[in-house]
C-alpha cells in the first residue's frame, strides 16, 4: 500500500486559468439523442446512469433527435425563442442601466436563458418556483410585465417591493415566483416545504426549487434533499451548473469528484443530467419531472449543464480568473442560436423573421425602460417613501417601530 511521507491538502483547481486554452474535457458531454427516457413511474434505482450521461435533444445540425424529442408545436417553439430573446435583451438593457448609474447592481443570465424559459413552460398555473437571482427567465416566460421587473431593479416609486431588495431579487406570487433571497440555498428546503404542504392539502400543485452549482455545498441543499426524499415531496430540484460560482469553478463545490445530479442518489431521488442550453431538452426533462411530481411519484433532481457566459454580476470581472475566450469554446453553444437553427431547419423560421422579432423586442424593452424610468431610478426621481421602511416588518406595526418612525420624522 503506497504511503506519503507527509500529508498534503488537495485543493481542486480548474484545468485552465487566464491566458490558457479553454478546456472543458472535465465536464462530460454526450451526443444528442443518446440518453434513454425512462417511464415517469420508473424506480429511480433503475436509471442511475442518467445522472452521469447528458440528456440532449438538439444535435449540432439543429435536428431534434432521440427519445426525449417531444412534439412541441412550431408556435410554442417560436414563443420559446421569443422568451429567450426578450430575456437577453432585457438583461442587456439592465446592464446598461447599471453602467449609467440607474441602479446599483445587476445579475444577467446570458447563455442560461433556456433553463428558466423552457422550464417555466413545462409548469402549470399555480405551481410555485423558488428561484435564485439568475432566473429572471421564469418571469419573462410567464409573461410578467417587464416594467414591473424594472421598477424593482430601479427601486423606484412603483417598486412593489418598496425599494427593499437588491436588483434581480424579484417577488411575483401571481406568476408563481417566490421572493428571492440573497442568502444562498435557503429557498431549497422552503420549496420542499411548499410541496409538502400541497400534498398535505391534497392539492395538485407542485414546487420547483432552484440552486446553482456552488450553493449545492450549502447545508440547506442537503436538508432539502433529505426532506424531499423522506416525504416524497412533489418538487423539482433544479441545479443550474453554469460551471462558475463567482470565481470558484464547480470543483470547489465538489464537482471534480462527481456529477451534481448524482447528489440525488444517496437520497434515492430520481436524478437526471441534461443539456441546459437545449430548449427542447430543458422542456422535455422538466415536463417529465413535473408529471412525475404531479402523479405523486416524488421529487426529481435535475442538473442543468450550462455556462455562465457573462460575469457573475456587474461587480465581477471574470477575466481575472478564467480565459476571456472560454465562453466561445463552450461545447453546448448558445441556446438562442440552437433553437433558431432548429426552427429554420423545420421551415418555421427565417433570418428575416428573426431580425424583425429582434427589432420588435428591442423596441419593447426600450418602451418598458422609458416607462419604468419615468417613475424614478435609484439615484434620480421618485423613490419609495422612507416611512415605508417601517412597514411589513410585522403584519401590524408594533409600538417600538412606530416610535422609531417618529424619530426619523416621517
Amino acid at each position: 500500500m503506497p504511503s506519503a511521507a507527509r500529508l498534503s491538502l488537495h485543493v481542486p483547481e480548474p484545468s485552465v486559468r487566464p491566458g490558457g486554452k479553454p478546456d472543458f474535457s472535465h465536464v462530460g458531454f454526450a451526443p444528442a439523442g443518446e440518453a434513454r427516457r425512462p417511464p415517469v413511474d420508473a424506480d429511480p434505482a433503475e436509471f442511475r446512469d442518467l445522472a452521469y450521461s447528458l440528456i440532449r435533444v438538439l444535435d449540432d445540425a439543429g435536428a431534434a433527435v432521440g427519445p426525449w424529442a417531444e412534439a412541441l408545436s412550431a408556435a410554442d417553439l417560436r414563443q420559446g425563442l421569443r422568451d429567450m430573446m426578450l430575456t437577453r435583451a432585457y438583461d442587456a438593457r439592465m446592464v446598461l442601466s447599471q453602467r449609467q448609474g440607474k441602479t446599483s447592481f445587476y445579475v444577467q443570465c446570458l447563455g442560461e436563458e433556456a433553463v428558466a424559459c423552457a422550464h417555466r413552460k413545462a409548469l402549470a398555473p399555480g405551481d410555485m418556483c423558488f428561484p435564485t437571482y439568475r432566473q429572471q427567465g421564469l418571469l419573462i416566460a410567464a409573461g410578467w410585465p417587464l416594467v414591473d421587473m424594472m421598477n424593482s431593479v430601479f427601486s423606484n416609486e412603483k417598486d412593489r417591493l418598496k425599494g427593499r431588495q437588491l436588483p434581480t431579487m424579484y417577488s411575483a406570487r401571481e406568476a408563481g415566483f417566490f421572493t428571492v433571497s440573497g442568502n444562498l440555498g435557503t429557498q431549497y428546503p422552503q420549496a420542499v416545504g411548499w410541496a409538502m404542504a400541497s400534498a398535505i392539502a391534497g392539492d395538485d400543485k407542485i414546487a420547483s426549487a432552484w440552486i446553482g452549482d456552488g450553493a449545492t455545498a450549502e447545508s440547506d441543499f442537503h436538508a432539502a434533499l433529505v426532506f424531499a426524499s423522506v416525504y416524497r415531496a412533489p418538487v423539482i430540484l433544479n441545479v443550474v451548473n453554469n460551471q462558475w460560482a463567482i470565481s470558484s469553478y464547480q470543483g470547489i463545490a465538489g464537482g471534480e469528484s462527481v456529477k451534481f445530479a448524482s447528489r440525488g442518489h444517496g437520497f434515492g431521488i430520481a436524478s437526471l443530467r441534461a443539456d441546459g442550453n437545449d430548449y427542447l431538452a430543458v422542456h422535455a426533462v422538466s415536463a417529465w419531472a413535473a408529471q412525475r411530481a404531479r402523479a405523486n411519484l416524488g421529487p426529481t433532481l435535475i442538473e442543468w449543464v450550462t455556462y455562465r457566459a457573462a460575469a457573475h454580476s456587474t461587480s465581477d470581472d471574470p477575466g481575472k480568473y478564467r480565459p476571456r475566450d472560454e465562453g466561445a469554446a463552450w461545447p453546448l453553444g448558445d441556446p438562442l442560436e440552437r433553437l433558431k437553427l432548429h426552427l429554420i431547419k423545420r421551415g418555421e423560421w427565417s433570418e428575416e423573421r428573426h431580425a424583425q422579432m429582434r427589432a420588435e423586442i428591442d423596441a419593447e424593452v426600450l418602451d418598458a425602460a422609458r416607462d419604468a424610468e419615468s417613475h424614478g431610478t435609484l439615484h434620480d426621481g421618485p423613490t419609495p417613501s422612507p416611512a415605508s421602511m417601517f412597514e411589513d416588518v410585522y403584519k401590524d406595526m408594533p409600538r417600538h417601530l412606530r416610535e422609531q418612525r417618529q424619530q426619523l420624522g416621517v
Binding site: 417591493l161 447545508s219 440547506d220
Partner: protein
C-alpha cells in the same frame, strides 16, 4: 404545562385544517416531553409527523408550508438545537413579508423547550431568547404557567408573524421556586394551572402582574417568575413582580407604570448576562423612567459561562441571588 400546550395544539388542529405539527420524535411517540402525545392518532400522519434530525430543514420546510398557506407549528426538541436553523429564522422567516412587499409571509410557530434545572448540561439548558429578540420580524414569547401557555400558544398559532415560543422545561411538570433541595411541586395546586376548555387567548405583548408591591419592580419571565416570587417571600421585600410573557412585542406601558410606582427595578433572567434581554430592559427603563429611579437598576442572570452540568445550582440564578438584589435595590 405539558397538558396545556398539548391542549392548545389540539384545539387549533381541531378548529383549523391548516394547522400542522411536526418535529423530531413529535409524531407517533408524541415528543420527548410528551407535548404532542396523541395528536397523530387523532389528526392523522399528514398533520402530525416526525421530522428528520435537521433543524435547518425543519424550519425551512415550515417556511415553505407557511408560504403555501398552512399554519405549521414545528418543535425544536431543545432550544439548544436551534442554531443550525438560525439562517432560516433570521434571514428568511423573519423577512419574507418585508422583502416581498407583503406578498409572502410565513405564519409559523417554533416551539422549543428552554432553560435549565434538569441537569441538562450545556446543550440542554440554554435560554436563547435574546438571539431572537435581536431579530426584527420575529415575535418571542415565554409562558410561565399552564393558563398562559395555552392562551399564548393559541395566539401564536393564529398570529400572521413568525413566533418563537420558548417553553421553560423546568416548568413542564410544576412550578419551580429555585430550591432544588425542596420536593417537586405539581401544577395542580397552583392558581394558574386551570385551563378553560376550548379556545381562549392570552394576547401577545401583554405583561401580567404576578405579585403587587410598592417597593421594587421585578421584570422577569418563564421560570424566573416563580423564583422571584420565592425571593420576595423569603426576603419580605415588597416587590411587584411583572411576568413579561412576551418579549417582542414588549408591554412597555406595564413596565413604565410599575417602575414609576416603585422607583426601583430588578431584572431577572436565566440566560447569560451580557447582551441578554435584561440589557434591553435596563436600557428601556433607564430611558423612560430615569427620573423615577431611586436606586440603580440591577440585573440577576445566568453567569457568562456555558451552563455547567455538575455545578448547575451555582449557575442557576436562584432565590438567594434574586433576594440579595431585591435587598440591595431597597437599600440603594
Amino acid at each position: 404545562m405539558v397538558e396545556a400546550i398539548r391542549d392548545a395544539l389540539d384545539v387549533k388542529m381541531a378548529e383549523d385544517q391548516k394547522v400542522v405539527v411536526f418535529g423530531e420524535d413529535v409524531g407517533y411517540f408524541g415528543g420527548v416531553f410528551r407535548c404532542t402525545e396523541g395528536l397523530q392518532r387523532k389528526y392523522g400522519k399528514s398533520r402530525c409527523f416526525d421530522a428528520p434530525i435537521n433543524e435547518s430543514g425543519i424550519v425551512g420546510v415550515a417556511i415553505g408550508m407557511g408560504a403555501y398557506g398552512l399554519r405549521p407549528v414545528a418543535e425544536i426538541q431543545f432550544a439548544d438545537y436551534v442554531y443550525p436553523a438560525y439562517d432560516q429564522i433570521v434571514s428568511e422567516a423573519a423577512r419574507l413579508r418585508y422583502r416581498s412587499g407583503a406578498e409572502f409571509f410565513a405564519p409559523l410557530v417554533l416551539r422549543m423547550p428552554c432553560g435549565g434545572g434538569i441537569y441538562g448540561g450545556q446543550t440542554h439548558s440554554q435560554s436563547p431568547e435574546a438571539v431572537f429578540t435581536h431579530v426584527c420580524g420575529l415575535k418571542t414569547v415565554i409562558p410561565s404557567n399552564p393558563y398562559d401557555a395555552k392562551g399564548l400558544l393559541i395566539s401564536a398559532i393564529e398570529d400572521d408573524d413568525p413566533v418563537i415560543f420558548l417553553e421553560p422545561k423546568r416548568l413542564y411538570n410544576g412550578p419551580f421556586s429555585g430550591h432544588p433541595d425542596q420536593p417537586a411541586v405539581a401544577w395542580a395546586k397552583h392558581p394558574l394551572s386551570e385551563t378553560p376548555e376550548g379556545r381562549y387567548v392570552v394576547p401577545l405583548g401583554k405583561a401580567a402582574v404576578r405579585r403587587e408591591g410598592k417597593g421594587v419592580t421585578v421584570l422577569c419571565y418563564g421560570t424566573m417568575v416563580h423564583v422571584s416570587e420565592a425571593a420576595a417571600e423569603e426576603t419580605g421585600v415588597d416587590a411587584e413582580i411583572l411576568d413579561l410573557r412576551s418579549l417582542i412585542p414588549l408591554d412597555i406601558d406595564a413596565i413604565v407604570a410599575s417602575v414609576e410606582k416603585t422607583g426601583r427595578c430588578v431584572i431577572v433572567h436565566e440566560a447569560t448576562l451580557t447582551s441578554g434581554f435584561g440589557a434591553e430592559l435596563a436600557a428601556q427603563v433607564a430611558e423612560r423612567c430615569f427620573y423615577a429611579l431611586e436606586t440603580p437598576i440591577r440585573r440577576v442572570a445566568g453567569w457568562d459561562t456555558p451552563y455547567p452540568h455538575a455545578e448547575e445550582w451555582s449557575y442557576f440564578p436562584g432565590p438567594e441571588r434574586v433576594g440579595r438584589a431585591l435587598l440591595a435595590a431597597m437599600e440603594g
